[in-house]
Structure formats: structure tokens, C-alpha cells
Amino acid sequence: MARKKVVLTSPTAAGDKLDGPLLEVEDLRTHFLTPAGTVRAVDGVSFTLARGETLGIVGESGSGKTVLSRSIMGLLPSRNVVRQGAIRYQGHSISDYSQEQMRSVWGTEMGMIFQDPMTSLNPVMKIGNQITESLRYHLDMDKGEARDTAIALLTSVGIPEPAQRFGEYPHQLSGGMRQRVMIAVSLACGPRLLFADEPTTALDVTVQAQILDLLHQQQRERHMAIILVTHDLGVVAGRTDHIAVMYAGKVVEKAPTSVLFSEMRMPYTEALLNSIPRLEDSSHTRLKIIGGRPPDLINPPTGCNFSPRCPYAQPRCFTDEPPLRPADTAGHEFACWYPVGTPEGTKALEDNVAAGVPAAVLATGGEPALADQGASA
């Protein structure tokens, strides 16, 4: 191919210092004002992301993980939204940027791939033009140059016959191929930070593995940071450096990936992991479920948000909200009064099981009455 590697410099990056974190988010709050009340979709999230690192953001539907990534990108609706807190990208406070200023960030500094590759590509535009659009706008390439770059990109994301695909429309490609095109579009201008919002949820397992491999390979080649948003702890386990677990708009546990899995402290993380069916388990193994539903983000419960569903919950959990506090291992933080794997946590769980608290009985694989499984509205 004409270009071995598409290395591109972005206009804003020239004067940036290369030390320090790539992205710092401090006490970010995104609230939606709705007729029913204020929805606290993201409620005080802080984290930092180093260059070339991968952060996994994990949580159930409605935990605020997608709103968090859209808040950082500045892709929120213009009305009825309150966004507070600081977002610093390479030291620049982009939280004050106008939409005009954000245009120099989108594409060249931050890219995004979405869950549904069917709807995130323009159905009436040839896929080649969807890639060259940003190349021509941001990098001022001429037509031929942009075309060569786009074909090189399509090759690098593993699309067979890229020159022919360049002139095709999204409906002519399979779901996996469309997601590859989406990745090519978002990588076109060489972003340093890529948001991947459930990039493989709509795909088959075999294709999911291919796409995750592709993202990893592109990340290594480009030294790009990735924020991988997913509900599947399996997807983030082998592919991230750090993981933040979100629940009801807050980060409830944050740790380097290996530490999170070996020393998890937050009962929610444990419950989420336990509810995944494992290949090692024999058939008809009863799954340990999380009873109840995620809280209403308009009227969140007092105390810990997870307390109504938590197998460890004690009276204090229903009144005082636990802050995010550091654990023994560096970089590991959690928000819980009775953490998993500590004497107080173990005692709390034993007390709850003895008292027959439904959440605790469920979490230990017991058989509660059906009506208690949290389905009754």
C-alpha cells in the first residue's frame, strides 16, 4: 500500500507537553432536567487517564457510563442539561470549550465508536467519503491524498478489497465490517483518545474477539488511549489497564484490572462478576443474581445507592453515603462501609444471611421466594 502508517499530527497538539496525564476528569456531574425531576446521570466522577492506557468503564444499563463518555466529548444535548466539574485534556480545560472550539478536538484528539454500527454510519454516503470527510476538513488533504489515506486505513482495520469497498455503501457490508469502517472513521485523524462505547455488544462472539484484537493492535501502533465502555466484565478483563465500576452515576470501585479481579472490595463489583455464567461451571448451575433494580436517578436512595440490593447492607448503609476511599493497593479505591473480603464485610454478610435478608440469600445462591427476586414493580 502507498502509506505504511498513517501518522498524523493534529493542529492543537503542537505546543502540548508530553508529560502528565492525557485526560483528567474531576468531580464531573451531568444532570438532565426533565419534567419528572432532575436525573443525576453522572454524579461526581473523577479519574485520570495516562497516554496509551486503556480504562474500562463497567456498569449496568442506566449506570451513566455512556453519558459520562458523551459528557467528556461534549456531545450532550444543548438544552436542559447541567454539566459541572473539570475536564482537562493535555492540561487544557476543555470543559469551558464552545462547540466551535470542540471541533478542533473531535476527530483529531478524541474519537468515538458507538455500539450500533448500523445506525452510526450515514446510510446514504459511500464509506470512503465518510472517512475522507474528516481528513479533508481537519488535515486539509487534497482529494487524492485523502483517498489514499482512507484506503490505507481500511486496509489497516482489516477490510478486504479496500479500494473496492471505498465506493460502497454501509448496507453492503456485514455488521462486523461496518464496525471496522466505524473504527477507520474514528481513527482517520489520529486521535490520542478513543472512546469505544459498547463497541462489540451488537456483534457475534467471534467477530467481537476480532474487533477487540483490532482495537488493541491499533492502540499499540498509535500509542492511543482508549476508554472502553461496556456492561461485560469479560470484555474488559483481558483488555484494560484500569477499570472503573459505575453504579447509579457514580464510580463505586476503581482499580488496576488485575487488582480489581483479585481484591475486589465493593459488593456490587462482586455481584456483577458472580452473575456471569461461567464455562467452567457445570450445566444447570444456579446463577447468583442481584435482586432488585438499579435505583431511580431522580430520587436516589439515601445512603449508599446500592444498599437496597446489597447482600452486605447494614443500617449505616441506608443513612450514610460511603465516600470513595483508598484500599491497600495503590490506585485501588472503593466506596463501601462493609467491603468484601474484610472482617467487617464478612460479618455483615453472615449476619444478613442469618437474618434471611433476601439480597444476601440470593447472593449466596439460595432459593428465596420467587416474588422476592425483585421483579415486582
Binding site: V205, V207, L272, S275, R286, L287, A371, Q373, A375
Partner: protein
Amino acid sequence: MAGSGTAHLRDPGDSLLRMEHLVVEFPVGRSGLKVHAVTDLSLDIADGETVGLVGESGCGKSTTGRAMMQFPKPTSGSVVFDGTDLTTLSGEQLRRTRTRMQMIFQDPISSLNPRRTIGDIVAEPLNIWKRGTPAEREARVDEVLDAVGLDPAVAKPKRPHEFSGGQCQRIAIARALVLEPKVVICDEPVSALDVSVQAQILNLLEDMKERYQLTLVFIAHDLAVVKNVSDRVAVMYLGKMCEVAPPERLYDAPAHPYTDALLNAIPVPDPTRLPDAAGRLAGEIPSPVTPPSGCRFRTRCPRAQDRCAQEEPQMRRVDGDHYVACHFPLVDVAGSRGDEPEREAVATA
């Protein structure tokens, strides 16, 4: 892999539902071409068993599930349910049989009529078949709603949009159970749900199976989910059967290279087990309009040889209840010839 044959079928007397040489084809516009969605597929399901049907999108697993319901009628082949060949039935007879076979779909929210109340939705099958008195129907609706973990008094006057995805799936299950069916075909019932909700629905299906003595056909692409619920797993590829085995066998000693590739692709929630790109299946499922000759998997198979292009593998026994359709399976198969490919095959551990 991906072959034909009926070696894996058990004695006809033991099966509640039995498909033989099932073929489902759809025309492609007016071109005269056909989509070969399911080609010469045979499978039997015993009374009280859960059979998992696994494969990638486009492998024909949903089409197979629907063909069992005659929905649409298969192009050829037989579907024998409880001694009756459903493909010979039509009209009223078929409608009557369908009351004993029900389906649950992938997207719980769009499979419920948004303008009707939950009480109406669940009672409708009873009303159509005029089962019992109105009071008895009411009691039956209350019973199934209670069984799926919903409070009937709270749920009945509400409409689907007032419920979450998991709860809508519970309602869909209640609707499927209200006529006391024998067989329930679950088409990707949990793939649209969060992991935590998925676990609730899987446990619920197990409970319902026990409580109402159901026979389940469980269609899914997630092998871990299928393993959890199934007594027998059938792996499909491009309209053909690859491997049929009890779940433990299939997962411990997969015989088909495709099964092995599927197992390898599953993300494991354990950071110490890094994803292994070596055994990764390349490419995507070929077009079912012009499927490859011989074994349909050969275009992506790491072990494929010339023979795979010329000769279609037939189902043969590995041991016990484990069957595979592959010329070069990953485990020894009694009576097979030339098992080891000459070319250095990619050692899929």
C-alpha cells in the same frame, strides 16, 4: 464440519420433537437465487430436555426454531411433534398444535403490544381459545404472572413501557406459559439484557421448566449461557449441523474446529487469562446464497484440506452421545480415516 446425516438422532420413540432432513430456503427477489438458510438439518429433542442451539448470526438457528413452529413451513423435511408430522398439517389443525408450542423472542419490549395492558396481553391466548370461564382465565393469568415473579395486581393494569427489559421478558414468558405448552422455543431470550438481568431470566427459565415440565429449545450465540441451561447442545454453521453433544463433553473436548473457535472467542472475566489471538477465527460467515461446496466451514477452517471442498462430512459418533460432522475432528473418532491433516494444521489447543 457443517455436514449432514442423522447418526446423532436417537430412537424415534424417545423424542418429543424430531426434525429430519429439514430444508428452509428463501427466494432472493426475482433473481431465481435462493438463500439456503437451513440445509438438510436433523435434530431430535426428548421430552423434558433442554436443547441449546448455538452459532453465529446467519447460521440459521432462528430459522430452525421458527421452522419447528411451521413459521414459515420448511421447504422440505419433516418436523414430527408428539407423533404428528407438522409439515402435513394446515389451517385449523396446525393452529391447534401451536398452542402446545410457544416462542419467546429476543427483544422483549418490541414483542409486546405497547398499546395493550399486561393483563390483556397475557390473557389473549386464553381468550382466543376460550379456555374456561372468565374467572378461571383471570385466575390462570394471575397464576402465571405470579410464577414469573410479577405481582399480578400491580402488573395487570400497566402497559409494556412501564416495565424494564427484564420485566418485559418475564411478561413474554408468562404469555408463552399461559396455555400450558409442552415445548417453548426461546430465541435469544437474554441477549438483549444486562448480565445481572440475564442471570435472573436464566434462573427463571430453569424454575419454569421444572414447575411446568417444559421441553425447551434454547437458541443463543453465547456458549456460556447455553451451557448453563442445556442438557444437549447443537452447534450450527451456515444452515448445517456441526456437532451435537452433552454440554460438558462439548466444552471439555470439542471435536469440531468451529466449536473450538467459538469457545476460544468467549471473553473470560479473568485478567490472568489473556485473550489468545492465535486460535482466532478469521473472516466472517460466507453468504448463504452461494454456500461453499463440501464442508461449509472449510473457508474459515484452520484444518481444511482438499477433501473438505469435495466431500461433505456426515454426522458420526465420537463416543457416547457426542457426534460430529468433520473429516478432521480435533479428537479421535472411532472408524474414521485419515484423521490428521497432512499439512501442519494450526494447533488449536
